[in-house]
């Protein structure tokens, strides 16, 4: 509950929240207040609306109804609801992946001048991996075959996902034993939906395993394909410097903010924004230039590849408009609040929806199609320029905060970077962990959630981990939170990291918190751990590696899918808030305990970010002990527990 907790720990955000109050404009935090108290049945997951004999709900006090009209128990209802929510998340990621592959197919056939194959090395690597002929063939020919091959992964009706070949043997065995080996991206999502229909699957454990299969089809399928093909099409990201927070918006330039998730349009807008004709038009309107900035994951995509600054994360989308200097906001899919459309009544910002999948009452819809990408992008930039003159000077209020960062680490470059140009391998990373200079790795990812003080959980957890010698990798809005607080700058190592981690960061010139991309790029964390396993010395399976995950402010259904594929891949994961499963002891027990036997990893629910970081450290320490690794090289504030202590 919101209680009297501050709404954010980010000064720019707090300033703009005050600004919103002055302007009598409601934000997500105000709307949350009007939603309180929120429904306990929903939070516990014990309300079922899957058929119209209902809605049914189970009495958590154990006195009233213990079954729905069809006879479903709390355990069934909770598991079925979790599966449905997860499927929506898996579908969102995977459909994003399909769009990127579609763009690759068009680019390969020369049907879209806006796209070129900018990652030929990755293209040919993938072709070799999938057995697509690439020698003596042009990039376009190879790309065309690759696109067809990957599109078939979505519609696959028989066999299993091709990317299973990337999965370490132990994980494959675990999945086969439980019947959760992912088969086809669309198939596993559709089968999951079928399972949730009234009178189909009613066994709680079987339902949860259905969710695991769909999540794996996302993580190792849809999301991973999205990441791979984005790298092929838009180029493999390279470490790049940029800035983050609302202070990147410029009072004397045309500001165009892209918000959403798919890089297909934002990539082309980057090109359009440097078009000389449009720059001249901007100047003729009195602007000093065209300033592009991003919110949410589309921001992460163009940050990694072009150094485009981050205006903010999920809960800052309204606040960007309230600065009064955003001339256009271009949105596509996922995490776009319909609330922002109404802000156009108070502020001059024009908001354009662009996806054939997502329309918003009050926004202007300019539908984007890959084959006319550049025309659409230029049109949108022009509309932004033309709106520059409509700013109301009395409404302009841009916070000063903008923090330096380095982003753009990938599986391919991230740890080879650690090895340096002349010895590019994962050896230095593995060696760092093996010698105890670095304790282990942690992925801290996920959303913002208005129910919890904005950014606080990401920052506290991130800082606690790095000061305890855990190297942190981040994606999504979590990465943006830490970027704004300076954790993604190399200097953060001196300021916040433990001594061993500091030494590594100093030696290679990396920050202690590494930005590895957008939320589909959580697949990069999977492939990075696979590389760690392959490098050797840290166990022959993903669940043996001293690594943990967390989503300390999650809110979207995509996060459920991410968490599930990460856990099922052998990575212990702490989340806040808890999954909406606490109305069923059986399901909660399955996820937080029994999964350990199934996958070598389980979920944990912990609100306190420091305690969450400690759970992660405990897990990493247990893995270190199991591998027989030596004690940490330097003393740490949160010391490993003795060998006699039971884990956790």
């Amino acid at each position: 509950m919101a209680d009297n907790n501050p709404r954010s720990v980010d000064p720019a955000t707090l300033e703009m929240i005050d600004r919103a109050s002055e302007a009598a404009v409601a934000t997500a935090w105000d709307r949350l207040e009007s939603q309180e108290p929120q429904c306990g049945f929903g939070r516990l997951g014990i309300c079922c609306r899957n058929c119209t004999m209902g809605p049914c709900r189970i009495d958590p006090f154990g006195e009233g109804a213990d079954r729905g009209v069809c006879g479903a128990t709390a355990d069934t209802i909770v598991a079925r609801n979790l599966l449905r929510a997860l499927l929506s998340g898996a579908a969102a990621h995977s459909d994003h992946g399909r769009d990127i592959v579609h763009a690759l197919a068009l680019a390969a056939k020369g049907k879209s001048e806006a796209y070129r194959i900018k990652g030929p090395e990755k293209l040919r690597g993938l072709a070799r991996e999938y057995g697509i002929a690439e020698k003596d063939r042009s990039d376009e020919e190879v790309a065309s075959d690759l696109a067809q091959f990957l599109l078939a992964e979505f519609g696959k009706q028989e066999g299993v996902l091709a990317n299973l070949a990337r999965v370490p043997e132990q994980q494959q065995k675990n999945w086969a034993a439980l019947g959760v080996t992912p088969r086809g991206v669309d198939r596993d999502i559709v089968t999951g939906m079928h399972m949730t229909h009234i009178g189909v699957d009613n066994d709680p454990e079987h339902l949860i395993l259905g969710s695991v299969r769909a999540a794996l089809a996302d993580g190792w399928g849809g999301s991973m394909i999205a990441t791979d093909v984005s790298d092929v099409l838009f180029g493999e990201p390279q470490p790049t410097r940029s800035l983050a927070n609302l202070g990147v918006l410029k009072e004397d330039e045309v500001n165009l903010v892209v918000h959403g998730h798919e890089p297909t349009l934002s990539e082309v807008i980057v090109a359009a924004a440097s078009d000389p004709e449009l720059l001249a038009l901007a100047e003729s309107k009195g602007a000093k230039g065209i300033n592009l900035a991003g919110i949410c994951c589309t921001a992460n995509e163009i940050l990694m590849r072009h150094g485009i600054p981050l205006a903010g994360n999920f809960l800052q989308q309204e606040l960007a408009i309230i600065t009064g200097v955003v001339d256009a906001m271009v949105v596509d899919v996922q995490c776009i609040m319909p609330a922002i459309a109404r802000l156009q009544e108070c502020f001059h910002t024009k908001i354009f929806s662009t996806s054939s999948k997502a329309q918003f009452p009050g926004m202007t819809h300019i539908e984007f199609h890959e084959d006319e990408a550049m025309e659409t992008a230029k049109k949108l930039v022009r509309l932004a320029i033309e709106n520059f003159a409509n700013r109301s000077p009395e409404k302009v209020c841009v916070p000063k905060q903008k923090e330096g960062l380095v982003a753009g680490f990938t599986t391919e470059d991230i740890f080879t970077f650690l090895g340096g140009r002349y010895r590019p391998s994962y050896r230095p990373l593995n060696a760092g962990i093996q010698t105890g200079r670095v304790r282990g790795l942690a992925g801290v990812v996920g959303c913002n959630n208005a129910r919890f003080t904005h950014d606080r959980y990401h920052l506290e957890m991130g800082k606690e981990l790095i000061r305890n010698e855990v190297l942190v990798v981040q994606t999504g809005c979590s990465a943006i939170a830490c970027a704004k607080a300076g954790l993604l700058a190399p200097e953060a190592a001196e300021k916040y990291a433990g001594k061993g981690l500091q030494e590594i960061c100093r030696a290679v010139g990396i920050p202690p918190v590494l930005h590895v991309g957008s939320c589909v790029d959580n697949s990069r964390i999977l492939t990075a751990i696979v590389e760690v396993v392959k490098e050797g010395g840290l166990g022959d399976s993903m669940d043996k590696v001293p690594v943990a995950g967390a989503a300390p402010e999650w809110m979207s259904e995509k996060a459920i899918s991410i968490g599930m594929y990460v856990v099922a891949s052998g990575i212990f994961t702490v989340v806040n808030p808890p999954l909406p499963v606490q109305g069923s002891r059986q399901v909660e027990e399955l996820l937080t305990k029994t999964f350990e036997q199934h996958f070598g990893a389980a979920w944990a629910f912990e609100e306190d970010p420091i305690k969450g970081a400690h759970l992660m450290s405990d897990h990493i320490d247990r893995k270190r002990r199991e591998l027989g690794l030596p004690p940490l090289m330097y003393e740490v504030p949160y010391a490993p527990k003795g060998n006699d202590d039971p884990d956790g």
Binding site: P37, C39, G40, F41, L44, P60, F61, P578, R585
Partner: protein, 181 residues
């Protein structure tokens, strides 16, 4: 004395009041812990009748049958204008009060949440959230209702409101009658 007044025409049967009530009477702010660890129970009940959902809880009767029949002095009223309270330490669990309550809103329950008596059973009922009211807060059920179907008010105040509505209805009827003529 203010009482909780329910409007069954507004109640959506979401049972947010039940959850909030149980939490307000537990020794924790954690909803999950209250329900599953402490086995906290609500003192407000949503009954269904005639297609409506009717919230019910202790009426704090002027001549309360529960207070009359209680042999151990566990049900008591500190003074004339105070709500009827339960002293769970004194309760012997005979359940006479449960039998005589005309509204069925007194229940015999394990009272682990309140002054833990080692799983002993004692009666529980609405105390008008005396502890919350002492802090200037509304009773938990009233605060939790998302549609304003519950209110804490003097019964005279409620009666005045009903009179006002009735008066409007009468005048409305007359106006309509005039219009028709």
């Amino acid at each position: 004395m203010k009482r909780i007044v329910a409007d069954p025409t507004k109640c959506m049967a979401c049972r947010a009041c039940e959850l909030a009530c149980a939490l307000a009477h537990a020794d924790t702010d954690d909803f999950i812990e209250a329900i599953y660890e402490q086995r906290a129970k609500p003192r407000i009940y949503i009954e269904s009748a005639g297609g409506l959902a009717v919230p019910l809880q202790c009426r704090h009767c002027e001549d309360a049958p529960c207070v009359r029949v209680c042999p151990s002095g566990a049900l008591l009223r500190l003074s004339q204008n105070e709500p009827v309270q339960v002293d769970q330490e004194r309760c012997i669990g005979c359940a006479f009060c449960v039998e005589v309550c005309p509204f069925g809103v007194i229940m015999l329950r394990e009272c682990s949440a309140e002054g833990n008596s080692g799983g002993k059973k004692a009666v529980i009922k609405c105390d008008l959230c005396a502890a919350r009211q002492a802090k200037g807060l509304q009773p938990a059920c009233v605060a939790a209702c998302p549609v304003g179907a519950l209110a804490l008010e003097e019964i005279e105040q409620g009666a005045k409101r009903i009179r006002a509505t009735a008066a409007r209805a009468i005048v409305g009827d007359m106006t309509q009658t005039e219009d028709q003529s």
